[in-house]
Subunit: 453 residues, 4 copies
Amino acid sequence: MSEVLALEHATLIDGTGADPVTDATIVIADGKFTAAGPGDSVEVPADAQIRDVTGAYVIPGLMDANIHLVSARTPDTLLEYEGRYDDLAYEAAELALKYGLTTVFDTWGPAAPLIAARDGINAGKRTGSRFFCAGNIIGLNGPLSQDFFKSGLTFEPATVDRINQIWEVGCGSNLIQLTIDGIGEAVAKYIDDTGVDFIKYAASDHRSEGFLLFSEQAQKRIVDVCHEKGLLVQAHTTSVESLRMEVEAGNDLLQHPDHTGKTPIPDKLMAEIVEKQLPCMTLMATERYMEWMNSTRPDRAKGKQISQQNDKTFIERGARVLCTTDAFAYGQRVKNHAGFRPGILEDVVPDMPTQIGSGHFLWIKAAWEMGLAPMEVLRSSSAYIAQAYGKGDLYGTVTPGKAADLVVLDADPLAAPENYRKIRDVIKDGVVIDRSALGVNRLLADDPGDYAA
Amino acid sequence: MSEVLALEHATLIDGTGADPVTDATIVIADGKFTAAGPGDSVEVPADAQIRDVTGAYVIPGLMDANIHLVSARTPDTLLEYEGRYDDLAYEAAELALKYGLTTVFDTWGPAAPLIAARDGINAGKRTGSRFFCAGNIIGLNGPLSQDFFKSGLTFEPATVDRINQIWEVGCGSNLIQLTIDGIGEAVAKYIDDTGVDFIKYAASDHRSEGFLLFSEQAQKRIVDVCHEKGLLVQAHTTSVESLRMEVEAGNDLLQHPDHTGKTPIPDKLMAEIVEKQLPCMTLMATERYMEWMNSTRPDRAKGKQISQQNDKTFIERGARVLCTTDAFAYGQRVKNHAGFRPGILEDVVPDMPTQIGSGHFLWIKAAWEMGLAPMEVLRSSSAYIAQAYGKGDLYGTVTPGKAADLVVLDADPLAAPENYRKIRDVIKDGVVIDRSALGVNRLLADDPGDYAA
Amino acid sequence: MSEVLALEHATLIDGTGADPVTDATIVIADGKFTAAGPGDSVEVPADAQIRDVTGAYVIPGLMDANIHLVSARTPDTLLEYEGRYDDLAYEAAELALKYGLTTVFDTWGPAAPLIAARDGINAGKRTGSRFFCAGNIIGLNGPLSQDFFKSGLTFEPATVDRINQIWEVGCGSNLIQLTIDGIGEAVAKYIDDTGVDFIKYAASDHRSEGFLLFSEQAQKRIVDVCHEKGLLVQAHTTSVESLRMEVEAGNDLLQHPDHTGKTPIPDKLMAEIVEKQLPCMTLMATERYMEWMNSTRPDRAKGKQISQQNDKTFIERGARVLCTTDAFAYGQRVKNHAGFRPGILEDVVPDMPTQIGSGHFLWIKAAWEMGLAPMEVLRSSSAYIAQAYGKGDLYGTVTPGKAADLVVLDADPLAAPENYRKIRDVIKDGVVIDRSALGVNRLLADDPGDYAA
Amino acid sequence: MSEVLALEHATLIDGTGADPVTDATIVIADGKFTAAGPGDSVEVPADAQIRDVTGAYVIPGLMDANIHLVSARTPDTLLEYEGRYDDLAYEAAELALKYGLTTVFDTWGPAAPLIAARDGINAGKRTGSRFFCAGNIIGLNGPLSQDFFKSGLTFEPATVDRINQIWEVGCGSNLIQLTIDGIGEAVAKYIDDTGVDFIKYAASDHRSEGFLLFSEQAQKRIVDVCHEKGLLVQAHTTSVESLRMEVEAGNDLLQHPDHTGKTPIPDKLMAEIVEKQLPCMTLMATERYMEWMNSTRPDRAKGKQISQQNDKTFIERGARVLCTTDAFAYGQRVKNHAGFRPGILEDVVPDMPTQIGSGHFLWIKAAWEMGLAPMEVLRSSSAYIAQAYGKGDLYGTVTPGKAADLVVLDADPLAAPENYRKIRDVIKDGVVIDRSALGVNRLLADDPGDYAA
C-alpha cells in the first residue's frame, strides 16, 4: 500500500484503555498506523487520501480467540470437499472479515489446508481475516471419529483413516498409549511437520465425559516442547481437574476454562488464574440464549449454568477474559445433520453463539450483560487477544507502528453492545475492505448477517 | 465389420441342443454368423480371414441372467463416483466380457448411468459385455436405505435423498402407500422416464424378513403395465407366498425362485413352474461353498440349504433354469465394509459366487454337481437366457443370422465344468476381443481371475 | 346378586337411539335389567333397594373397541412382571371400570395371562371392566422385537424368545414364510391353543412402513379359519392397499381404517365401507391434540392429518364408527423410555388419547368436534361396539334382559362431551361399583384422572 | 473344629520355598496347622483322625488375586437376580473351592451382596472359597453403563440407575468431575459406607481406549485415603502412563500391569517395579490361547502380544508375579450375549483363562511356559498372594499357626503344571471339603471342570 490514508473527525477508541478521543484523526501508510490522536495534534501528509468519518467511532479491528475456519462438519462435506478444505477456510475468513474480525485464531482444523489459506490471505490472493492456527487438538482423533461423531460411521475404514489423518498428523489418540518421552517427541514432530502457529492439546476429552488424556507430567512435557519450539500453548479442558492440571503445566492461555462440567472453579484455582492474569477464552452466552436453554434443554443447561457462573466470577474478580466463540461457518446442511457432536444448531435457537460473523457480537452482548465494563469489553475483543497470543506488538490497538486494522462504527460501542453491529467500514492492513464483495459466492455457510438479530 | 472371418477345424457346440460337430467351420460377416456346420459343408468366402482353431471348442457367447454392473456398494464409493456411475458399469462390463460373458442382464442399478453405458458399448465407445437393464427394483429404495444397509447412515438427509433418487426415479417404497391405480401409473411413468429394457419389481422385501410389498392385484397391475409398454417383467421373491403371487401375476421370468426362505416350494407350485417352463433364475451354489457355509455360518446356511433343495428339484423335474449369479464387480474396499446388507465377501469364502467374471463359472459347476446334463448346462448359460429375455432371435446360439458371439475353449465344456474357464478367445459381434486389454485400469474391482480357482 | 335395585327419577338415554326419557325408572335384578322406562310405567318390586338419582343421566356402560390391558411396554417391566402379567391386566381393568368402561376389547396382548384375568374378573375374584381379548396380532412378533422396539435389544437371545413366545404362541412373523395352508393351520392351532375371543391379524406391518404380511388369498384363508371356529376377525392396517385387502377378505371389523399412511381412502373403498356399515374402529384425535402435533412434530403430523381427514369423511358419509383408543395403562416409567415404538407419551402432550381411563373421553370429544351427532357419539361408545363384536344381545343398551351395565352422570351427555367425565356412579352387572376402591394400589399406571383435564 | 486331623506320608511342599519334604506329616487342630514336617519329627496327638495320603503331594490352598464372584454380566441376569446377587457369589465361591482355591480376591463387584456372601461363608452358612473384596472399581460406572456394555441399553433410566448404584455407591464416573478434595472425600465415604477389604480404582478407563480418570495428584490422594483407613490399594491400568502413575502414587499392588496397550513397559519403570518387588497381578495366557488369538483375531491379538512380552520380562527380571485370572463363573447365557464388553467367550476358544475354577490352572500353565521356576509358580499361586494382600501371617503356607488350607494332589506340581488339576482333596480351615457336593445346584455357571482340558 503505497497510498496514505487519513480518517478525520472520528471518535477514536484506540483499545489501549485510553479515553475516547473526539474529532480524532488517524493516519495510515504502508498498511500501518503512522499517527492517531486529536485532529489538531495530528499532521496529515499532503498526499493523503482523506476520509471524513464525522459521527463515526473508530475502534481496533475485532478479534476472536477461538474459531474454526474449516467448517467441514458432516461426513458428506468432508468427502465432497476433500482436497479443497482451503476453500472452506477462505469462505469462513471472508465472512469473518465482513463482520469486523480482522484477526482470528483457529484452534481446531486440518493444518495443511489451513496454512495454505493463511498464507494465501497474507499474500493477498484472497481477502479475509488474518488468522493463526493450531491444526489438530493434540490427542484427539480426526473429525470422523467418536471424538466428533456420536454414532458409528458407515464408511470404509480406509476412508475414515484418510480423512482423519489430515487432522491428526500423528498426534491423535494414539498419544495416550505412549510414554512421556514418546508424547514429547510426537508433539515436536507435529510442530515441525505442520508449521502451525500455536498448539492446543486436549487435557480432557471431547466426548463430554471429562476423561483425562494426559497426566500432569505429560502435560508439562507438551508445554515444554512447545516453548522450546517457540510456540504458545493452550489446552482444551472440561473439568476442574483438567483445568487445574492445565494451569499447573504452565499453559500460556486457557481454552474455555469456564467449562468445568458439574463443579464450579474452586476458589484457590480461581484466585491463581486471576492473579496470574492468565488469558481466559470464555464461551459466554447471552441471557436470551440461557432462557431458551433452561426451558427447552434442562439437562444440557446444567453444565452451561456452571459455565456462566464461572464467567461471572471471572468478571467480578477481574480475570483477563477474551472474546471466544468456538464459531464456524455453518449453513443448512450442517444444521440438519444429526451425527455431529456439538449439537444444537436449529434455527430456533436464539442468540446461537457459534456462527462465524455473528458469534462475536453475541459474546460482546453476553460479557456486557455479565457486567464487564464497556471499555474492557472492547479490549477483550481486540487488544487483549493480541497480547494473549503474543502478537500485542503487531495488532490490537490503534497505535502507530501497528498494522492498520480498524472498524468504523456508526454508533458508540461504549454505549450499547448492539452498536458493534453498526459497521460502516472495515479496514485491514490499511485497506478499506469492499464488504459487499465478501461472501458472495458461498459454499456451505449461511450469511452471518442472518444471525445478527 | 466389413471383414469376413472364418473359424476352421473347431468342435462346434452351437447351443441349439444339437450334437457337437467336429471339424466345423463358422463363418462371420458384418458381425453376424453367416454359416456354421461341418467343414466340408460350409463355403468359406474367398476374402475371409481364416482362423484355424484346431483342437478348440466353439460355444455361444456366455450369458448371465442377473448381474449388477454398478457395484457402488459402499457409501464412500457412491459419493466418490457420483456423476460417474457409468464408469463403474463400463469397468464391470469389461471384466464380464473378458471371461466369456458376451451378454448380461442387469437387474438392479441406476437407470440413467446404466443406459449411458449400455448405449456407449453398443456404439463401440467402450468394449464390454452387451447388456440390458432394469434400473431400480420397483418398490425398493435406493442403495442408501435400510433396504441395502443394515445400520443407520451418518449422512445429511439431502445426500441420502439425492443418491437414492438416482435409483428410485419415483418408484421406491413410496409405492406401498399408493392405490393400485397409483402404483400402475408410477410404473408406467418409470418406464417412460428411464427407457429401461425390462422391469423387476419387489414382490417381497430386501431386508430378509419376507414382507410383501404388493398385493396380488397390485402385482397383476404392474405386470399388465409392463406388457402394455412391451417390456418383460420379473419379480424379486424370497418366500413361497411371494413366489406364488409372482407366478399368478403372470411374470415372464422368475428371479431367484429357489430363495423361498424357510419353506421349500410346494409341489403344486413347483409343478406349475415346470409345466409352464417359466425361466428360473436360480442362485445355485457349489458343494464347496455349502460346506463352508454349513460349518461356519450355520444360521445363514439354513435358508441356503432350502434354496439348494429347490434347485435340485428344479433340475430333477426339468424346469427351465438359467445361469444367474447376482454378481457385481467387487474389490477390497467393498469386502472391508460392514454395513452393506448382502454380506459375506471375505477372502476366506471358497467358491464365492457373486464376483462378476468368475461367478458364472461357479454356477456352471454347481448346476453340474446337481445333475443338470452337460448340454443343458451350456444352453442354460446361453440360449435359454436369450430366449427367456425375448432375445432368442438375436443371440444365444451359433446360428446364421444371429449376432456372432462365441467363446473358443481349449477343452470340452461337455466333459467337465472347469473347462469353461479355459478360454482361448472371446468373439463378440464378430470381433475377436483383445482380452489382455480388458480390466487393465481398474477403479474398484479385483480381477475376477483371482477368484477363478 | 339376589337383591333387586331400582334407579328412580333419572333421565334415561338407553343407547338404542330412542329419545331421552325423563323421570325414568330402571329396575335391575340378578345382574340384569328387568325394566326401564318412564317412572309411571315401570313397576318397582317391593323388595327393591331404591336409589333416587334425581338430576342425573343414566346411559349404558361405556365401551372401548381397542385397548391393551397388559401395558408391559418396557423391557424392564416385561422382565420384572414376568409370570404376573395378569396383575397388570387386573390393574388396567380396574382403572378402566373406574372411569365408566364396563366392557372393553383387548386387541393385543399375551393370551394366557389375559384370559386368566378375564376369567378372574368374570368369576368375581377381582373388580374390573369385563373384557374380551384377541391375544397376539397374528403375524407380528412379540413385544421384544423390532415390531415394537426401534432399537436393538441388549438381552440374551433366550430371554427375548421366552418373552416373545408368551405373545406369539406360534403365530409371529414366522407365518410370512409359510404357504397359505400353513398359515391357515397355524391360525387354527392358535385359536385352539389359546381360547381367545376374537382374532386380529396384521394385514400390514407395525414398523410404520406399510409392508404387507399376507397376500389376499392368505387373508381370506385367515378369515375363513376364524369364521369356521366361530370367531370374529379384524386386521391391523396402515395403508390403502392393506385396508382394501382387509375389506375384500371379509373381515368383520376394521381396525383403525382411518390410518392409511400417506393416501386418503379412495372414494370407491370408502363407499363400500359405508354401504356395508363395516364397524370402523377409528383413532380420532381432538383439535387440541392436532394443534400440538402440527406445531411440534410436523413430520409425524402428516399421517395423522390424513387419518383425521378419513375420520371426517366417515362421519359425513354415515359410516359406523366406534370409540377406539389403542390405550394402555401407562405411567412414568413408560413415558421415560426411548425405545418403545408408538412414541410420544411425554407429559406435555395435550389430550393424549392413549391412556386407559381417559382416552375414551377424548375420543368422545374428538368425534363431537368432527360433527358426529351427540346421540351417535353415545351409541358409538356403547351399543355399536357391542353389536360390532357380536355381543349386541348381551350388552350395550339399557334394555330388559341385558346385563345391567350403566353409568350415572351428573350432567347431560347429549349437551356437551365433557359431561361424560361427570360420573356419579358406575354399575356393572347390577352392582354399584365402589369407585374409590379402584386403582388404589397401583403397579405401573398413573391415575387416569390425572389425564382427564 | 474340635477334632484333630493328621495327614501322613505326604510329600509336603509348604509354600515357603523350602524343598519338598517326603513322608511328611501335617497336623491340624481348630482349623489351624499345629505341626508340619518330616513324619519322624512330628508328634501326632493320640486323638487325631489319621489320613494316610501316601503318594500324594500336599501344597498350600491355591489363591487367585483377581476374580469376580458376582458374574451378573448380562442385563437379563442383573434383573433376574436383583436382590439375590449374594447367591451368585455363593455359587462362584463354591466352584472356586471345588477346584482348590481356598482364598480369592474379588476386585470388582457389588459391595453389599459380596460382603453378605463373604460373611456368610466365614460364618459357615455356606461352603466356598474364603474371599476378600473391593466392591466397585472407583471411578467406573456400574455394569449397565458404557464402561461394561458396548451398545446402548434399552432400559428405563431408573432401572439403569438402580442397578448401577449397587456397584457405584457414590464412586462412579461422577468422580472425574470433582476436585481432588472431593475425590478424597468420596473415597473415604465409600470405604465407610461399604466395609470393603481393599480398594481398586481406575487409573485408566475400561473402554479400551486408555483415557485417564485421575491425575497424579488425585491418585496420590486416593492412595493416602485408603492407607489412612487401613486398606491396601491397587489400580486398574491399561497404558504405560497409567501404570507409571499408579506406581508413583504408591499403590500396594499392581492390577494387570502387563496390560499396557500398544507400548511395552519402558525399562526404567520395569526396573522400579522389579526392585520394589511390587506385586504384579499378571493376566498371562498360554501359548495355545495365543496361537488361536493370533490366527483368528489378529487385531485384538496385538495388545495381548505386548502383554505377554511384558510378562516374560517380569519373569526374566524376577518381578513378583501373582496368579491372576480376572475370572468369573460364566455359562451358556453369558457366552451368547453380544453386548458385554470383555468379549470372547465362545466355546471354541482354547485355554480360555477367565472361567472361575479352571482359569488358575491355565495361569499356572502359562507362567510355566514362560519360564517361571516351578517352585515360584506354586508360591505365586499361594503364599505371594497372601503376602501381597497383607494376609501373609494368616494364609498362604503350610506353617503352624496359619489357617489349615491345603490341596492334596495325586501328582507332583513341581513336575508338570497339569498336575495341579489332579486334586484328591481340598482342605479349608482344617475341614476336608466334600467336593462332590459343590456346584451341584447351579444358577448360571458351567462346571469349570468342563474347561479343564
